[in-house]
C-alpha cells in the first residue's frame, strides 16, 4: 500500500498532464470556496434573516460536481489513488511488470468507458429531464466536466501503461501508481 507521489520525469507529456491538472485545480478551488460560501450564506439567511433560499441544495450539489471533477483529475495526475502493494513485495518486479500492464489496460479502459458513458448520458440534456429538481439547473455541463475528469484519468493510465512498457527492463517510474 502506498500513496504515490508524482513522477519525476519531466517529459513533454508529463508537463501536459500537469497543465491540465492545474486548470482543473483552479476551477475546483473556486468551486470549493463557492461551496463553503453557499453553505454559510444559506445558514445565515435561514437563521438571521428568516428567509430560506429556495432550492439552495441544488446549487451545492452542482458545485460539488465541479469540485469532485477537479479532485479526481488533479488527484490522478498528482497521485492520490490508493493501491495495495503486497504482491510487489512477495513476487517482485518480474511478475508485477506483467500484472501492471494488465491492470493499467483494464483500469484505463474502464475510466474511458466511464468518460464515454457520462458524455453520452449528459448529451441527452433537457429532453431527458436532466435538470435539478428545484432550481431546474441544466445538468449537462456537469456531466461533461465529470466526463472530462474521467478522460484525464483514462489518458494518464494509458500513458503510464506505455511508459511501463518502455521501462520493461528497468525500474518503472510510475511503479506504485497503477
Amino acid at each position: 500500500m502506498s500513496v504515490h507521489n508524482a513522477s519525476q520525469t519531466t517529459g513533454r507529456i508529463d508537463r501536459w498532464f500537469y497543465h491540465i491538472a492545474n486548470v482543473f485545480a483552479v476551477i475546483g478551488g473556486l468551486g470549493l470556496i463557492v461551496l463553503m460560501g453557499i453553505t454559510v450564506v444559506s445558514v445565515f439567511w435561514r437563521y438571521a434573516l428568516r428567509d430560506p433560499i429556495f432550492g439552495v441544495g441544488d446549487l451545492s450539489s452542482m458545485t460539488l460536481a465541479v469540485v469532485v471533477s477537479a479532485g479526481v483529475a488533479y488527484g490522478a495526475v498528482y497521485g492520490a489513488h490508493i493501491t495495495v502493494n503486497i504482491i510487489a513485495a512477495i513476487l517482485g518486479r518480474k511478475l508485477t511488470r506483467l500484472t501492471d500492464v494488465v491492470v493499467r489496460g483494464f483500469g484505463g479502459s474502464i475510466c474511458a468507458y466511464a468518460a464515454y458513458a457520462l458524455a453520452k448520458k449528459g448529451s441527452c440534456g433537457l429532453s431527458c429531464g436532466l435538470t435539478t429538481e428545484n432550481l431546474v439547473i441544466p445538468k449537462m455541463p456537469f456531466y461533461f466536466m465529470l466526463s472530462a475528469a474521467m478522460a484525464v484519468v483514462a489518458a494518464l493510465t494509458f500513458y503510464h501503461l506505455i511508459v511501463g512498457l518502455q521501462h520493461w527492463a528497468g525500474a518503472d517510474p510510475n511503479e506504485e501508481d497503477v
Binding site: 475546483g28 453553505t39 469540485v67 488527484g75 491492470v103 474502464i110 497503477v178
Partner: protein, 434 residues
Amino acid sequence: MDGSMIAILGFVVLLLLLLFRMSVGAAMMLVGAVGIYMIRPAASLPVVAGEIFGEATNYNLTILPLFILMGNLAGISGMSRDLYDAAHSWMGHMKGGLATATIVGCAGFSALSGSSLAAALTMGKVSLPEMQRYKYDNGLATGAIAAGGTLGILIPPSAGFVIYAILTEESIGRLFMAGIFPGLLLTALFIVAIMIVVSLNPAKAPTAAQVETMGARLAALKRALWIIGIIVLTIGGIYTGVFSAVEAAGIGAFLAFIVSLIRRCITWETLKDVITSTLKSTGMVFFILFGAFVFKTFVGFTGVTFAMTQWVEAQGFGPTQVVIAVLIGLMLLGTFMEGFAILVLAVPLLQPLLESLGVDLIWFGVLMVIVLEMALISPPVGVNVFVVKGIAPNVSLNTIFRGIWPFWIAMLVAAILILLFPQIALFLPHQMFG
C-alpha cells in the same frame, strides 16, 4: 449462470484485481460494469454514468470536501499543533506522558479531521521528534502515532462514517454522534495501554519532560481554545440540531478560515497547498465511491444478498452470532486490505442481511469503523503504519508493527465493550434533538 454465481465470480475477480494493485475505485467500477453487462447489457452504461453523476452531485456528500477543507485549514493555522502543545504541557512530565500526549493530540485532531492518515501524519510530525528527544522506545512512539491516528475515523467528523452513511442511507449526523463516546473510550483505552506497557517495561519511556508551570499550561490551553471552540460549535450544532452535519462542515471550514486569517496564516502558498490537498483527498474518496456505487448496483442486480439472507435465516443464526462472525471476518480481511476498500466492498453485501436480522445499523457502523481502524494498523498491510514509516524512515516496519500490539488489543477491548454495551454508541444518537 445464476445471479449468485455471477456475484461470487465478481468478488473473486475483484480481490484478484486489488491484489494486482488496481486502484480500489477502478477495480470496483470495472467488475461492476462488466457484471451488470453480463446480467442486463442495456443497463451497464447508464448505471456507470448515473452512479458517478449521482454521487458527484449527492448533496449529503458536500460534507466531505468541506470537512477536509476544515482539517487542512486547521493545519496551516497551527490550530492542530496547539492541541498537541496543550496536551504536552499538561501531560508531558508523566511516566509515558509524551505518548499519552500524542494520543490526546490525535484525538483532538480527529475532531477536526475525518481522515486517519491525516491525523497520523500531522500529529506524527509534531510528536515523534519530541518522543525521540526523550529517548522513548521507537516501537512505543511510532505505535502511539499510528494507533492514535486511527481515531480520525471514529471521532467525528469521519470520512468512514460519511461513506458508511451514504451506502446504508443512515443519518450522517447520528453516526457522528454515535462515534463520540466510543472515540473517547478508545482514547482512554490507548492511554491505559501505554501505562501498562510503560509499567511493565519502564525502559520504553526512560525520561520525561519537565513539569511546566500552571501559567504555561493555562497559556497553552488558552491557545488551544480556538480549535476547541470550533469543535464544540460544529459537533454541538449537529447534536442540538441547530444545523445539519453538512452545514456544520461548511460553518467549520468557514470558521477555520477566519481563524487562519486572524492568525495571518493565509498566504498565496498556504492557500494553494490547502486547496490542492483538499481536492486531492476529495478526488481520492469520490473515485472510490464511484466504483463502490457501480459495484453496489451490480450486487443489487445479482440478488445475491437475498440468497444470502435466506441462507442465514434457514441456518437459524441469531443477530449476535452473525454480527460477531461478520466482525471477525472483517478483521481478517483487514490484515491485508485497506479500510475504505473493506467498507465499500462489504457494506452493500452485509446491509440487507443485517437489516433482515434487525441489527441496529448505527451500532454496527461504529463496530465496523473500529474494525477498520484495526485494519489500518495490522500487518502486513497497514496504511497508518506506512504513513508513520514515512515520517520515521530510520525505524523499521517490524519495529512499528511490534509497537502496535498493545493498541490493537485496546481496539479489540473497545469493540467487545461496545458489542456488550451498545448504549456506549447509541446513547448520544438517541438523545439527539429530533
